[in-house]
């Protein structure tokens, strides 16, 4: 074995996967601690969750790589660990991380047991041919039930119970042993540092000063400073100005070789040159493209409009930039009669949508108006043309629709046996079709259902949680499109059709939903100096109406001395609030009104 191949043999790449909150980021903290990766004074809990949003919400949103050093039996190893998010909306981050690893540490909370996302991530790891190390975490908890949970791991995931390690990411117990196990069990990368360069782009981020920073896993060959490289998908060459590793901050090095994970800075200013999943090689070299990633398919769409129409171009730039760091959402320009110029964007789920919208607002400072989300639909017209629509406003009103099909999700729920009845009722309410039940021991069951996606993305998870005292978990993926009796519900505000408020609903529920929607809108739209009629319509038929009464009194009693300053500041604040509203016709509609549709509760 050559010296460089020997070096590759001492590399281990693994990701940490688990259900949400089972302690992945905390384990990453302990690992960085005992390997001396981070200075003591820089330590803090969930150190790798460095985005403000991640810290505020206490969840991991982006996968993060870090290089660590570990010695076993006197031999030094270099490892790259990737901390992944646990929420189902971010599973694209997980599958991408897996493509840069040979193994996975599968964490299971010793008190909670196997959850829906534990299973889903395990199947992903199996599909990616990863060596899986099952680990029980939080064994320090008095309520931990390690033996039972180990049995669950065996029966549900098919991983032998006796191999399950016991650790506490909080106290550090068992973490050193886990690293030893990683060295033993996870194979070194198979790449050859002496062959031509092939590096997989697994992530990227835009830096205002240094351009696009590309995160790569070197699969074969090596790359050095000042090398001229190209992306196979872009046909453009760049010079490597800096390259380095994540420790976990970016630290420059001279070279990255097969098996290693790091970053490249090449002064790339054209965002579109970089594509996640693309292969990097040297300028003059011909290599085959690496398999890359399967593009995730967004099923949840919403409109994103700048509150201030003048921000349209800024919004486009902000979307481009963010897309570089999150390839799992997509967007294209769209025009709304009500809202003007904006974008239609697709997401992997509602949390994903919320995070993207917040990141956009924070990272670009643009105020957004977001329309209510909807799923995609397949249409067949009377002349037998087929197409996919991502917005209710694209639904033809002219009666040419022959069939409309909606996405159906396969849903797996792990719930306490005592709440089976409640959950089955919930699924039936949501037009679900029962598939089967599997028993996980005596206390918990795994329920399989097929439910229209539109029925689960909004409040289904909350309902599942409340019907199971918080113990239920779920995972879903879209299986197929199926025909259903759906219609488009339109909303007219002051006589103007507000396309951004229209929604696609099941015919049986259309009248109730129309009525409820208007009642919500009535609460959300502030009174104006004139009366505002609200109407809900299907086709040409009005199915519900409400009126927002005109404001006839709005007057301050006293305006003396300091009241004048107070009044001016209040007016300025109110004006700011008004700027965040969208004016449709001459009615100011606040963002919250566009979300009223989301909160239509069937119990009301």
């Amino acid at each position: 074995m050559s010296e460089s191949n020997e070096k590759t043999a001492r590399i281990r790449n693994f990701c940490i996967i688990a259900h949400i909150d089972h302690g992945k980021s905390t384990l990453a903290d302990r690992i960085m601690e005992i390997t001396g990766t981070v200075d003591e004074r820089k330590r803090r809990d969930q150190l790798l969750d460095d985005m403000d949003l991640e810290r505020e919400r206490g969840i991991t949103i982006k996968a993060k790589a870090v290089e660590i050093h570990w010695e076993k039996d006197g031999i030094p190893y270099v490892m790259h660990l990737i901390d992944t998010p646990g929420h189902v909306d971010f599973s694209y981050e997980v599958s991408r991380s897996m493509a840069a690893c040979e193994g996975a540490v599968l964490l299971v909370d010793a008190a909670q047991g196997v959850e829906a996302q534990t299973a889903a991530n395990t199947w992903l790891a199996v599909d990616s041919d990863l060596e899986i190390i099952p680990v029980l975490n939080k064994v320090d908890l008095p309520v931990a039930r390690p033996d039972e949970v180990a049995m669950e791991i065996e029966s549900v995931l098919g991983l032998p119970a006796e191999e399950v390690m016991h650790i506490s990411a909080k106290t550090g117990k068992g973490v050193a042993e886990l690293l030893d196990r990683v060295v033993e069990r996870i194979p070194p990368p198979s790449g050859d540092p002496e062959s031509e360069l092939q590096a997989l782009i697994f992530d990227s981020v835009f830096d205002d000063y240094r351009g696009v920073i590309v995160y790569v896993r070197i699969v074969n060959g090596r790359v050095k400073k000042r090398d001229r490289i190209r992306m196979l998908g872009a046909h453009k060459a760049y010079e490597v100005l800096e390259l380095g590793k994540f420790r976990p901050d970016m630290v420059a090095v001279e070279e990255l070789a097969a098996g290693e994970v790091g970053y490249l800075i090449c002064n790339i200013k054209t965002i579109h040159d970089v594509k996640i999943g693309d292969t990097v090689t040297h300028q003059k070299t011909e290599v085959e493209a690496l398999p890359g990633y399967e593009e995730p398919i967004p099923y949840v769409y919403c409109g994103l409009y700048p509150s201030n129409p003048g921000d349209y171009e800024n919004l486009r730039a902000a979307l481009d930039k963010l897309h570089l760091n999150d390839a799992s959402f997509n967007f294209e320009p769209e025009t709304s009669d009500a809202l003007g110029f904006g974008f239609r964007a697709g997401f992997l789920g509602l949390l994903h949508m919320e995070i993207v919208q917040e990141r956009l607002e924070r990272e670009s400072g643009i105020d957004l108006v977001q329309t209510p989300p909807n799923v995609t639909y397949e249409l067949q017209t009377t002349d037998n043309r087929e197409f996919l629509i991502d917005s209710p406003s694209k639904f033809p009103d002219d009666g040419t629709v022959k069939e409309i099909r909606e996405p159906i999700a396969e849903v797996n729920m792990i719930v306490p046996s005592t709440s089976i009845g409640a959950i089955m009722r919930l699924c039936e309410d949501r037009r679900g079709v029962y598939i089967k039940t599997e028993y996980l021991g005596t206390e918990r069951v795994l329920l399989h259902y097929e439910i229209p996606l539109s029925e689960i993305i909004f409040d289904f998870y909350d309902k599942l949680k409340s019907s199971t005292k918080g113990y239920g978990t779920m995972d879903y993926h879209v299986k197929e499109y199926r025909a259903a009796n759906l219609v488009k519900l339109r909303v007219l505000v002051n006589g103007t059709d507000v396309d951004a408020l229209s929604m696609i609903v099941h015919r049986d529920e259309s009248t109730r939903k129309g009525r409820q929607l208007l009642i919500k809108l009535k609460k959300e739209i502030p009174r104006h100096l004139f009366e505002i009629p609200l109407q809900a319509a299907i086709g040409g038929k009005i199915i519900a109406r409400e009126n927002i009464r005109a404001m006839r009194k709005n007057v301050t009693a006293k305006c003396y001395g300091g009241d004048i300053t107070r009044k001016r500041k209040l007016l300025e604040k109110q004006k700011e609030g008004k700027r965040r509203m969208k004016s449709v016709g001459n009615v100011e509609i606040p963002q919250s009104a566009f979300f009223a549709a989301l909160k239509l509760d069937r119990d009301e």
Partner: protein, 388 residues
């Protein structure tokens, strides 16, 4: 850097506001800067008056003042010796014009013949009396310290003492008040022939007992239609007594407008002294520290009592001027505004004004734009449209 302001805003003030932040007890709707006796340590009021005198002295007022307003709180809470010290200091350090207006606010529950005589003897020209309501139940629910009879007695005494003018405060839109009872209260007050009436729409101010009661569902805001009816009825009844509305909440016989308050409505400069007092001098609207204790300490330590400075720029002053002027029947005087802010300063507002005129909220008369009664009622919504 208020140097781009029109000259009038930078001129030396001709008015003085003095704040007395003490009351016998706190009324349930009140958000003024005042505390009840139970929270006022003994000796504090006297120390406060000393501090006031010191702040006044340091203003070094040279130009004679046209108006003085002693408000609160309850200025009539000052005992005679404190009052006399304050009045003496005012006369010494704040030269008054011959026809100056000098107002003191008074709570009917603190009526004291000798004090009234003291006021008159130093030259107070006007008493502003907080009647608020003549319904004993409502007065009690508002935690006012006086009865309806106290109001009548106070008015008798004010008239007997020969004050050239006086004002009565009345609130409409109180929970449980009702249109009829409001109208009969108003008639009873008008029968006292007040030269001036301030008619305030009840506001639920944050942090007041009344607001908490509303949040708790114990009181309800009066219906909008009823409040509108109260306002329109009040405008008719006052007019029948010769009291003309000259500001959204103010009515006066000819020659009896509150000149001090009109300074605010012209957005002109004035001095303000005392805890929580606002003033506006040299293009800066400032506020002193609100707590009487901290105010006294700062003054005693020779420090400035100012706690907040709103440095006005031209745009702010312009916007404020439009707002306060539109609250006044005089409205926006086109030539006066152009003189102050340059010709064409209203160009951008005129299309808006034309829309308001078409909607019946405004009229244009004698070179002025003023709000109609309907416009006054929705004035806060209209003002929002003045912002660019």
């Amino acid at each position: 850097m208020p140097s781009d302001l029109p000259a009038y805003a930078l001129a030396p003030p001709r008015s003085l506001y003095v704040h007395i932040p003490f009351c016998e007890s706190k009324c349930s709707y009140c958000a003024f800067n005042s505390v009840g006796r139970e929270h006022t340590p003994s000796g504090q009021i006297s120390a406060y008056v000393d501090a006031l005198i010191r702040e006044l002295t340091e203003l070094r007022i040279h130009q004679p003042l046209e108006t003085i307003y002693i408000g609160g709180g309850t200025p009539s809470i000052l005992d005679r010796s404190s009052w006399n010290r304050l009045a003496e200091a005012i006369l010494r350090h704040a030269p008054l014009e011959a026809k100056a207006e000098w107002t003191v606010e008074m709570n009917p529950g603190t009526l004291h013949d000798a004090k009234l005589r003291d006021y008159r003897s130093v030259g107070v020209t006007r008493i502003s009396l907080g009647a608020q309501s003549l319904d004993p139940l409502i007065l009690r629910s508002l935690e006012r310290i006086h009865s309806p009879e106290d109001v009548f007695r106070a008015v008798d005494r004010i008239v007997e003492e020969g004050f050239p003018s006086f004002n009565l405060d009345l609130i409409y839109g109180l929970p449980g008040q009702g249109l009829q009872s409001f109208e009969s209260d108003l008639d009873a007050l008008l029968a006292l022939d007040p030269p001036h009436l301030a008619l305030y729409n009840l506001q639920f101010e944050d942090g007041t007992t009344l607001s908490l009661q509303r949040l708790g569902g114990h009181v309800e805001e009066e219906r909008e239609e009823v409040q509108i009816a109260m306002f329109t009825s009040a405008c008719e009844r006052t007019a029948a007594h010769g009291l003309l509305q000259y500001e959204i909440s103010n009515f006066a016989l000819p020659g009896h407008r509150a000149r001090h308050n009109e300074v605010y409505w012209e957005n002109a400069p004035y001095f303000g002294i005392g805890a929580g007092a606002w003033g506006c001098v040299g293009g800066v609207r400032y506020r002193n520290v609100c707590s009487a204790d901290r105010y006294i300490k700062r003054i005693e330590a020779g420090e400035s009592p100012r706690d907040e400075n709103d440095v006005l720029d031209r745009d702010a002053l312009f916007l404020e001027s439009l707002v306060v002027m539109l609250r006044h029947v005089n409205g926006i005087d086109k030539s006066l505004m152009e003189e102050r802010f340059g010709s064409g300063c209203l160009d951008e507002s005129i299309p808006l004004f034309q829309r308001w005129i078409a909607s019946g909220w405004m009229h244009w008369r004698d070179g002025r734009w003023a709000l109609t009664q309907a416009g006054q009622l929705v004035s806060d919504s209209l003002f929002l449209e003045l912002l660019p």
